[in-house]
Amino acid sequence: MNIDGPDLEDRYRRVLRLLPRYYRAIWEEDMVAALLDSRMTGDEDEDEYVLEFGRPAWPEVASVVALAARLYLGGVGAPRRYLAWGQAVRGAVLALLLTHAIWGLSAILLVARSHRLLGWLPPTPAAGGIWLTVWYTGGYSWIVVFVALVLRRYGVARAFAGLAVAAALAIVLQGQLAGELVSPFASWSYLVLMDFIPVAAMAAFHQDAPPVPRRAWLLALPAGYLLVNVPWLTLQLTGNAAWLPDNFGLCCLLVALACLAHAPRAWSSRAGTGTWSLALALLAVVVGLERLTSLSFYPNNPHLARVGLAELLIMVAAAALVAPDAVRAPAAMPAPPSRPRLR
């Protein structure tokens, strides 16, 4: 041990503090030994130097971060609270990706209308250009991401999520550079809250994660499209667009409706594990932040800003109904099966 300061072993131990305590109790000493072994060259002087001044390599740190993310989100043998968080995060991620996928379907409809493929609907103006293509590419990609996640094709989902996020990033960046963004703050916030965070949280879909109910989630895509976009389109086509909330308000109202629908179960004596309530609470936090930041789209329109705040309050009130159930979720999960003792 270097008496003047931390040595390589200390630095590795600091990195390993990212891992959950229960996991470190089993594996930390072994991991430290393996990490230090991996740095030894057999040359006494060089090894001494490395042990004193060496720093953890970034690929090793990244592998520990990835392991930590998987363990905190319900990896094999994790305590029940991590299993509950993992399940709740998977539910919230799927719900957010479902909204993206529904908008992706809307993009297909827009293209079909602009090409006059749906004769019974008035055509939309045929627009072109590279950035519209990028926007559509992102929209279609979200459909693939959602379906692939449900079908446990995680590699495919991650590849298309990268494409969708890259498309969204390119559009915001282009808007920023061209000075076309109405509210740069709101646009970047949307990118972080609705694109980056759900994609990062896809880490909860790991090899040890139990499968999600496929049929229900796959049916949610056409059902969601019919329940959200058809009334939306109808109001637009009948000249009642003024009644429509913006996308962020719509998300608030959808989360509020989901909370209200789930509340009787959350309050009943036969309440389940509470992970759905926790998922709804997570959704409410993300969507609520998005609603708040998106109010900067309306600096000169106090009426729309007030409507936005009302949508936010409705969602907060509805989320409060499931909050007590969400709080008990980390302890209500069934205990995981016992595992062989290694130490």
Binding site: W27, D30, A33, A34, L67, G75, V76, Q207, D208
Partner: protein, 112 residues
């Protein structure tokens, strides 16, 4: 219940333990040798795989040895681990034979 497919990393780790117990970094080196340098396990990945294999009862601790003031823990295959590895090896060998046959390479299945 459906049997979970074995990942490539798990296959290499089990193979690295097939001829005797190894410690963590010994497994990393053996996997690199076995894969001719194509699979370079990071320590975070190795212990993710080892943790899962131990939970599934396919590997278990063998012994601990002191080395340079640190304890190295060695791991070995369990009987279930040997069976699972043999089954996976058969499956991969059969797949490889089909591939060679379809590509018209030597070592494929004889035409019937």
């Amino acid at each position: 219940m459906a049997v979970k497919p074995m990942t490539g990393q798990a296959f290499f780790v089990l193979t690295a333990l097939a001829d005797g117990p190894r410690h963590g970094y010994g497994i990393v080196r053996e996997v690199a040798d076995l894969s001719q340098g194509r699979v370079k396990l990071k320590i975070g990945s190795l212990y993710g795989v080892l943790d899962r294999l131990a939970a599934d009862g396919l590997v278990e601790p063998d012994r601990e040895e002191a080395h340079d003031g640190r304890l190295r823990r060695y791991y070995r295959l369990t009987r279930d681990g040997r069976d699972a590895l043999a089954e996976e090896a058969d499956l991969r060998a059969a797949t490889a034979r089909v591939v060679r046959t379809r590509l018209g390479l030597a070592g494929g299945e004889a035409a019937g």
